[in-house]
């Protein structure tokens, strides 16, 4: 298995090369004029003469052939320089590093409840098939299933912020932000909730958490619904298998039969889907960060895309692709761990 993991990791640079080349190429289709728009603010842009425009294009190298420009970008990345982000008004690398913890915190908080609760509810529904609890869980799932996350997010904002005032948007309240920015606050993990606890500031922790609950619920609900349905159907299928009857024929307790013999088998398809879901969760953070007005990689990527900040787009693409490839690798390994019939090679 180690050999397999190493082989897959060696492939990573190749995959990233392909992805960035494609995205870079697609952006070139916009033409040098549109790309230039990112560098100049709109008011001055309209007043520029053709000669001045040409000069600017030359200055930013926008007239160079695509391969030459890609090579230049790649060379920069290899030397730790990802270019200048117009949207972030700072080097792309710094902009990314600054925002990744915010999004990572959101994603981490979303992943564990999603996976845990989704699988747990799915198991309960399957074991109590057609009983009241099964119907209740499935209604809960249908609600998640039928709302797109942007609608659900707005709904959460309306009820829990606008009406009840419980869950405010943003990352932190102003007072808490002052605390976090003060020199006495140590940034150890860069995850706000964890750092707040490490600094002994329960009030900041609670404030950060209050800001996280809405976004987490919004991201999670759809995936809960999805994971729950897959777990339920997979579990129902497994419970009808003959080896479950064999296990019961041995005199095993129902709980052992379900938790040992059925669950591990039921987890095989769930792992495939669940893993892909967790990766997709990062996509969910884009919408949620925009709706809840949170600082983070998702919102940064969204603004970069709308303002054609191509260096920032390339940087985000590089980050998300890496997550995607590593995530898929983890799923494949997990898959082999759960099912002895799978052999990686």
């Amino acid at each position: 298995m180690t050999a397999y993991i190493i082989r897959r990791l060696l492939l990573l640079p190749l995959i990233l090369f392909g992805i960035t080349l494609i995205i870079f190429g697609m952006m070139q289709l916009l033409g040098p004029d549109r790309l230039l728009a990112a560098y100049v603010d709109p008011d001055t842009f309209n007043k520029l003469t053709d000669e001045e425009l040409e000069a600017l294009k030359e200055k930013y190298g926008l007239n160079d052939p695509m391969i030459e420009r890609y090579t230049k970008w790649l060379n920069g990345v290899l030397h730790g320089d990802m270019g200048w982000s117009v949207v972030g008004k700072m080097p792309v690398k710094d902009a990314l590093l600054q925002r990744i913890p915010y999004t990572a915190e959101l994603a981490l908080y979303a992943v564990f409840p999603v996976v845990g609760i989704g699988i747990w509810l799915g198991m309960i529904a399957a074991v109590h098939r057609d009983k009241f609890i099964d119907h209740a869980i499935r209604i809960f799932a249908v609600i998640g299933w039928s709302f797109p996350d942007f609608v659900f997010g707005l709904f959460v904002l309306m009820v829990f912020y606008s009406w009840l005032g419980w869950l405010p948007p943003g990352n932190l309240s102003l007072w808490a932000e002052d605390v976090v920015k003060s020199p006495s606050f140590h940034h150890i993990t860069h995850l706000l909730t964890v750092d707040a606890l490490l600094n002994g500031r329960i009030d900041v922790f609670w404030d950060a958490l209050r800001h996280l609950i809405g976004p987490i619920t919004t991201i999670s609900w759809l995936w809960w619904a999805y994971l729950l349905r897959i777990t339920r159907s997979s579990m129902l299928e497994v419970l009808n298998k003959e080896y479950i009857r064999t296990a019961r024929a041995k005199g095993l307790d129902r709980r052992v039969v379900i938790n040992k013999h059925a669950r591990r088998n039921a987890m095989i398809p769930v792992t495939t889907v669940g893993g892909a879901m967790v990766i997709n969760l990062f996509a969910g953070t884009v919408i949620v960060e925009v709706i809840f007005n949170r600082t983070g990689l998702g919102r940064f990527t969204a603004s970069a895309a709308t303002q054609l900040d191509y260096a920032a787009i390339m940087g985000s693409a590089l980050f998300y692709s890496t997550i995607l490839v590593l995530g898929n690798l983890i799923i494949d390994v997990l898959y082999a761990v759960i099912d002895p019939r799978i052999r990686l090679g």
Partner: protein, 334 residues
């Protein structure tokens, strides 16, 4: 041969009725079945698929799925009615005193746990030994059922074993707690013919060694002839004939048994063409009135369509559910 007169049965099934409540209606899978099992003997239960033979065995183990319900009857095991036991008490019997092996070793073993793990589970549960001891016992069992290199096989997964090996592992698992009854539900059906004979031999050998009673469920009269002491023939949820195996093979007194026996190819008698029983097993939602076999019976008369025959003792310890069993007296099985 078992002396039926003077022995106490270890298991007595009395008027067992197991119904399945489906959306389309009530399926009377087992509808009033009675038989006895004596210590150390082999009872063959034979019938076509859908005759209720597997449901009978699952009823004894109380392993029916949620739609199946035992609506009446008694299953007396060592003086206790299994149907009156709590689920907890029943669990102490399953795998410990009554064990079961299933048709397809392919799907009856859990694919994600090793063979050893699955054998040890029952040992640890019922015998209260530690894991190390259980593992030694599992290896001994694997050796006993004829699996080569048991020390290695014990750590292998089911998919790493051949079909015959898997069925041997199933047998090892079932025998791990030295049960007094082993129920084998078509244990050889999914196997190659050469392997079938080996598995049957192994089961007979282990039965003698452990002194356990065996219920062999099969659709194959050849298997019955090979292993059974007595045989119960099932058709559409009923027992239709019941008695000693030699007696029934020589003097079948129910047209269905007669048909089953005539459809076995024989080498010792000239046969032009194999006989078969016309028609198929009736729809369990909609059994025929009167005798359930009458639409397929070559001896059926008007009476069979309206009146349901009872089990009658046609010869000593030989029962048949047919009004016209005497007609078969003159026929010799061809």
């Amino acid at each position: 041969m078992i002396d039926v007169e003077n022995r106490e049965p270890i298991l007595r099934v009395k008027d067992l009725k197991t119904y399945f409540y489906t959306e389309d209606g009530v399926v009377k899978a087992v509808d009033g079945v009675s038989f006895e099992l004596y210590p150390g003997e082999t009872l063959g239960i034979v019938g076509e698929s859908g005759s209720g033979k597997s449901v009978t065995s699952l009823s004894i183990m109380r392993l029916l799925d949620e739609r199946g319900r035992i609506v009446s009857g008694e299953i007396i095991f060592k003086g206790k009615d299994l149907l009156k036991l709590s689920e907890g008490e029943m669990r102490k019997i399953r795998g410990n005193e009554i064990a079961m092996i299933f048709q397809e070793p392919m799907v009856a073993l859990n694919p994600v746990y090793t063979i050893g793990d699955q054998i040890m589970e029952a040992i640890i549960l019922h015998q209260g030994v530690d894991e190390k001891k259980a593992r030694e016992m599992a290896i001994d069992l694997l050796r006993k059922v004829g699996i080569p290199e048991p020390e290695k096989r014990v750590d292998q997964y089911p998919h790493q074993l051949s079909g015959g090996m898997r069925q041997r592992a199933m047998i090892a698992m079932a025998l791990s707690c030295r049960p007094s009854i082993l129920i084998a539900d078509e244990p050889t059906t999914a196997l190659d013919v050469t392997i079938q004979a080996q598995i049957l031999d192994l089961m007979k050998e282990l039965q003698n060694e452990y002194g356990m009673a065996l219920i062999m469920i099969t659709h194959d009269m050849g298997v019955i002839a090979e292993v059974a002491d007595r045989v119960a023939v099932m058709y559409a949820g009923h027992l239709v004939e019941y008695g000693e195996v030699h007696e029934i093979f020589k003097r079948p007194r129910h047209p269905y048994t007669y048909g089953l026996l005539s459809s076995i190819p024989r080498l010792d008698v000239e046969q032009e063409k194999l006989k078969s029983i016309p028609g198929t097993v009736p729809d369990p939602l909609n059994f025929p009135t009167g005798c359930r076999f009458h639409p397929r019976c070559e001896f059926a008369e008007e009476r069979c369509k309206v009146e349901e025959p009872e089990m009658v003792e046609v010869l000593p310890n030989h029962y048949s559910r047919c009004f016209f069993w005497k007609k078969l007296e003159d026929l010799e099985v061809k």
